[in-house]
Symmetry: C2
Subunit: 313 residues, 2 copies
């Protein structure tokens, strides 16, 4: 299967081509760029939903339940589980297989995990590319699930149309644990494990903090929805809230603004990755290593070395 | 104060120059690069200690207690609290002021918070630069405190000589909540709030997981140290473990390897940032915005647009 065939087959709905395309996107390089260039005109139709929360908050259970609801409504769902906490081990494929069993044989569901390889910007670039591939392949909803806190959240904010933030009870009295950035990233708050003690306090605290903050951009106040994901309680409300948010974004013009921000972000990433590849190709592996040695020995500094590389273009 | 003066005064120990230098590093641009180039030959002496953990785990309390211990031993300590969870609000200056009070008037302590501005790679670059400034200014220990999970941790692993990971009891029976990547990043595990129920189980689980994993690189098995940071219990053991880890890294040659990895990382960052600045400067603000519009409208794609920018160099 050549790269051109791969794009055509992916656009025609081949799940095998999609799987290969995502692997290619993870690997990066020229072939990945050619594939992405070919499919990019066909993107922009999916509802991209980010789901973030701390480990153990129940992200995958919620995503699974949401997937069932959207499937029942006849919408195809792709799930990208990004695991930046395994930069050294790679992959979470066992998890994928376990998750897929719940949707066994349903061609309208595609679940894929992606682990950072510890490359700078690698996880962000590969995530964005995988979302584009799902979008081009015709999935109505693309869910991007990431572990909470850190740069990852910023990236979700750049890429997702609607960001769901999952909290759990027990932090209801601890303002520090509900981080300021989270309030500004969330479009919908989900308080999972709402049958546990302290759930009401967490819901109240989140609502209070939301009202303390600045007036919401474009008039959207993030709803705070208590759920018990394991028992499918409250999930339909979350799905409706996500859809309402998208409709609001579209009507207010914010969707176009967010898509433009995402385009700018992807252009920056592509430029930075391309510049790094060019510089390394030009000086060769040994030339690059010699520069790294010089920086490590402090006979030069990163900025002077980088300026030298760029001036030689 | 010119930039040259700023470097000289910073190297001579001026705290005012240091503060201005870090602000410059946060801003980025040509003046920041000139300062970093000037001070870079004077770096490489500090012990860089990363501290990471989930919100509410007690990072700042632990860092405060560690600072007191190292100050009592006559070592100067700089603390950089990186808050990537506030990409939109910026700064955490109130927190700095509260923290400083504990070390009021001690010129051997410097505490600074830094918030991501949501720029790609910006927080990583500014963090690395601030560490270099602290190092050049002569601080014996530079503590970099970040919220756990996500790319941030990977960056700590690249930059710190010794990484302390803080866990709290209550996740003792939840293997999912102790993430695989954490095990590979931690040089020292700190179980804070060890007077709480479940602390023993968390300590035991961490030790068991550490022994289940691969043989540790270079023969270092991360110690798991229960502490009560609020009551200064166990903090001295953490300080000793961090120092032993540095000694081990130095003796085993791993320190040189880690410093080389950091040099490579900084060179990549500087190159990517420089390439982005050059491209934007060349096409101008309106040219750049037109390209972003074209990507958003999908009349081109990020890779084709980036390749065009790079080919025009």
């Amino acid at each position: 299967m050549s790269d051109v065939d791969l794009a055509d087959e992916l656009l025609a709905g081949s799940r095998r081509a999609l799987g290969r395309g995502i692997t290619l996107a993870e690997t990066g390089g020229e072939a990945a760029r050619a594939l992405l260039s070919a499919i990019y005109p066909h993107t922009g139709k999916a509802h991209i939903v980010g789901v973030t929360g701390a480990p153990g908050a129940g992200k995958s259970t919620l995503v699974n339940a949401l997937t069932h609801i959207w499937r029942d409504a006849g919408r195809s769902v792709a799930v990208l589980a990004v695991d930046p906490t395994s930069p050294f081990t790679g992959g979470a494929l066992l998890g994928d297989r376990i998750r897929m069993q719940s949707h066994g044989g349903d061609a309208g569901v595609f679940i894929r995990s992606m682990a950072s390889r510890g490359r700078l910007g690698g996880i962000a670039r590969a995530t964005g590319d995988a979302v584009a591939l799902f979008d081009a392949a015709g999935f109505a909803v693309v869910i991007v699930e990431t572990v909470g806190a850190g740069q990852g959240e910023v990236e979700i904010a750049s890429a997702a149309h609607t960001t769901l933030v999952i909290e759990v009870p027990g932090m209801g009295d601890d303002v520090q644990s509900i981080k300021a950035g989270i309030l500004e990233i969330a479009d919908v708050f989900v308080v999972n494990k709402a049958d546990r003690e302290g759930a009401d306090a967490t819901v109240r605290l989140l609502r209070a903090m939301l009202h303390l903050g600045e007036a919401p951009a474009g008039g959207w106040t993030p709803p705070v929805i208590p759920v018990v994901a394991l028992r499918d309680q409250g999930i339909a409300e979350v799905a409706v809230a996500a859809e309402q948010h998208l409709a609001h974004m579209r009507a207010s013009g914010l969707l176009a603004a967010r898509q433009r921000a995402r385009a700018a972000y992807e252009l920056r990433l592509a430029l930075q990755e391309g510049a790094l590849e060019r510089a390394r190709a030009r000086v060769g592996a040994s030339g690059w290593e010699a520069l790294v040695d010089a920086v490590a020995a402090r006979t030069t500094d990163p900025y002077t070395a980088a300026a030298g590389l760029l001036a030689a273009e």
